[in-house]
Symmetry: C2
Amino acid sequence: MLTTEIPYKTYLGEDELPKAWYNVRPVMKNKPAPLLNPATHQPATLDELSRVFCTELAKQELNETDEYIPIPQEVRDFYKMYRPSPLVRAYFLEKALGTPAHIYYKFEGNNTSGSHKLNSAIAQAYYAKKQGLKSVTTETGAGQWGTALSMACAFFGLDCHVYMVKCSYDQKPHRREVMRTYGASVTPSPSDTTAVGRKILAENPGTAGSLGCAISEAVETALNTPDCRYVLGSVLSQVLVHQTIIGLETKAALEKNGVTPDVIIGCAGGGSNLGGLITPFVGDFIQGKNNCRFIAVEPAACPSLTRGRYAYDYCDTGMVCPLAKMYTLGCTYMPAAIHAGGLRYHGMSSILSQLYDDKILEATSVKQTQVFEAARLFARTEGTLPAPESSHAIYAAIQEALRCKETGKAENIVFGLTGTGYFDMMSYQKFNDGIMTDYVPTDEEILKSLSRLPNV
Amino acid sequence: MLTTEIPYKTYLGEDELPKAWYNVRPVMKNKPAPLLNPATHQPATLDELSRVFCTELAKQELNETDEYIPIPQEVRDFYKMYRPSPLVRAYFLEKALGTPAHIYYKFEGNNTSGSHKLNSAIAQAYYAKKQGLKSVTTETGAGQWGTALSMACAFFGLDCHVYMVKCSYDQKPHRREVMRTYGASVTPSPSDTTAVGRKILAENPGTAGSLGCAISEAVETALNTPDCRYVLGSVLSQVLVHQTIIGLETKAALEKNGVTPDVIIGCAGGGSNLGGLITPFVGDFIQGKNNCRFIAVEPAACPSLTRGRYAYDYCDTGMVCPLAKMYTLGCTYMPAAIHAGGLRYHGMSSILSQLYDDKILEATSVKQTQVFEAARLFARTEGTLPAPESSHAIYAAIQEALRCKETGKAENIVFGLTGTGYFDMMSYQKFNDGIMTDYVPTDEEILKSLSRLPNV
């Protein structure tokens, strides 16, 4: 029997579910740089953003004044179906590592979308419904975001049109069928339903598609469809704000147990889960209320923070979305086909980029075989089979715990377990068969795409 | 906003986790008939059962005197990683149906095995480890049980050898890889590793295998391997006992909310989840402490309670396991290849069979297209994408709720949501594409296999 002064899982009550999201921008000393209109290179206005995004979401994108943004009651009701999510004490992982550290993880995988993506999807669908829209469009690669949005749209009775990168559509039929079960229409991209899709198909017959192309098709469809807008699952500040439900719950659960975190760790692709987890703590840090470390973990194959440049760049490969100032590898950078599809993004959220530049946020990168080794240890000790994306955070948490083993310090390590790996078993198979390889880009590769950054 | 006098999800605290499993046999007026030795047709002795099963589990199989069986501390510690599981009030499903009924479901899918199977797997692995065994063998069809056992064995450091029906091994590689990730060795059955496997391969080259053959291979391997036993995931009374953790938690959560159930519903294959859910309430019913109805829901393609005969039969198609008196379609009955693989079993737990014969348990059968319609409605309203097996219970719960809509009575309907459908998306695809068909056996088909029942 283990000594368990703290519960394995801390569940907040439904009455403790946060009533407002957190927005760290008001307390940041150096604000993130504004989004720029891609045509004029001037800061994007509410009016411009509202053509592509729901008006309320465009307002949230620009909101640098309100530290708390109320969560609508309808969204809170939906949240109650799968939230508050558990904060878990990883007793068995600690035991396996022989560390004096106390390891906690916030688990976001207990919903059908299998990840934290649902937290923002339901908010975005709600504002679309409230604005009187009939439908939304989006793109999806591996499918987590598309699944989450399909669930959210089914709940509010909105039509949902997902452009799914063709190779995923063909090779990952399972998530596609989840989306269809929730009533979404799923189109393999590139398709002949848009001008940009037809152009790409004419130039590259038989192409397997790309996320950049799928974004372009989704945006074109949104602009050409009455009562329709485009929605996005990461990178944007509005998405980070919605995801703070993770960090706010984590904070409340830690406080309930009288625990002060020493280090908080999250995987980072576009940055929405990491930002959502840490920014409520970062706000306190900036105001001198804690002395916590914050660590972003990114794949060695797509190292935007650790090897990218802090500059204005396009958010999408198709160069139709606004420009953001961020740590980026360049929007033409093509990351290797690693198994953490959700982390294959060339840039990083403007908020997180500024925090990294201000040295409030640390960053590290990990190779994928190391990631799967950490995932396997975690599965066997803690039971839950983690997503490859989430396993980046597991790896870094283990490293911190082993450091504590050397120093003998019982630090409190918190990490975000963003999702489960049930739709990633073919990646696990590669690992189980011992045929998974690593990929680290050369400096030349990165410099090549950085040389094409827009002139802003 | 909905009126929510009762929480969406009721979580018991870890200190409220039951300390003992429930065994209904002591309070049953008519006891289930004893297992028989297949060679002698005499009641199987502890000694005989202990050759195949762990000794402590064989004792539990024969235990008709202890109403409560203590849960070992190590098993309770493991349970704390995913239990107590939530009791959910289906507010959004109620709203969609416009019923005055209050619908509750006990959700067992929040663990990597994706179902309730883990509740017994961890207990069986624990007793195997305690007995000093080095390994266990089992069979798996769709893979839920094999996955659960692999997780349990990884936790206790036991070798786990799973014989997986060959067509599943080939067509459902995802669950196979989950098992391998947890360190299990998975062999497609029939295989050349056993005498029975070689015999079947010689007679039927290229066969896709069957559960009956896989059981025979697993039992043969257990008998021929030092420090090894065979374990089973359903049907047996010991498994029902372990699964009562479901019903005991349900009871505690309902009592916490001051709710008295009017009807409790579960899907039924071998009967372990249904028995685990209802027997703590059935014990009270027999003792006049409640007036609840209990409903078993089985597939129309495999209707052992509703169309079978109450007789002694083999538990396995290979006829190597003990004989059990149960409602059965005959162990040579080959159910159609429906998508609820976990319910394709020819017989029913002896305990449940006796309760059905005593008219304490009701039963109904459902066609699979009806089941998937219920599953889709549930997914879109309640968020969680259910397993096809569990969706049998959803269908019946909806029927009860619609009956309440007619009578105007606000009855409390409770059902077991045994698991998630994440590894069943190819079945959902058939449904989404409108090409799923139903199958109901003719009387002749059933009479044919019943005519081959053993002469006991």
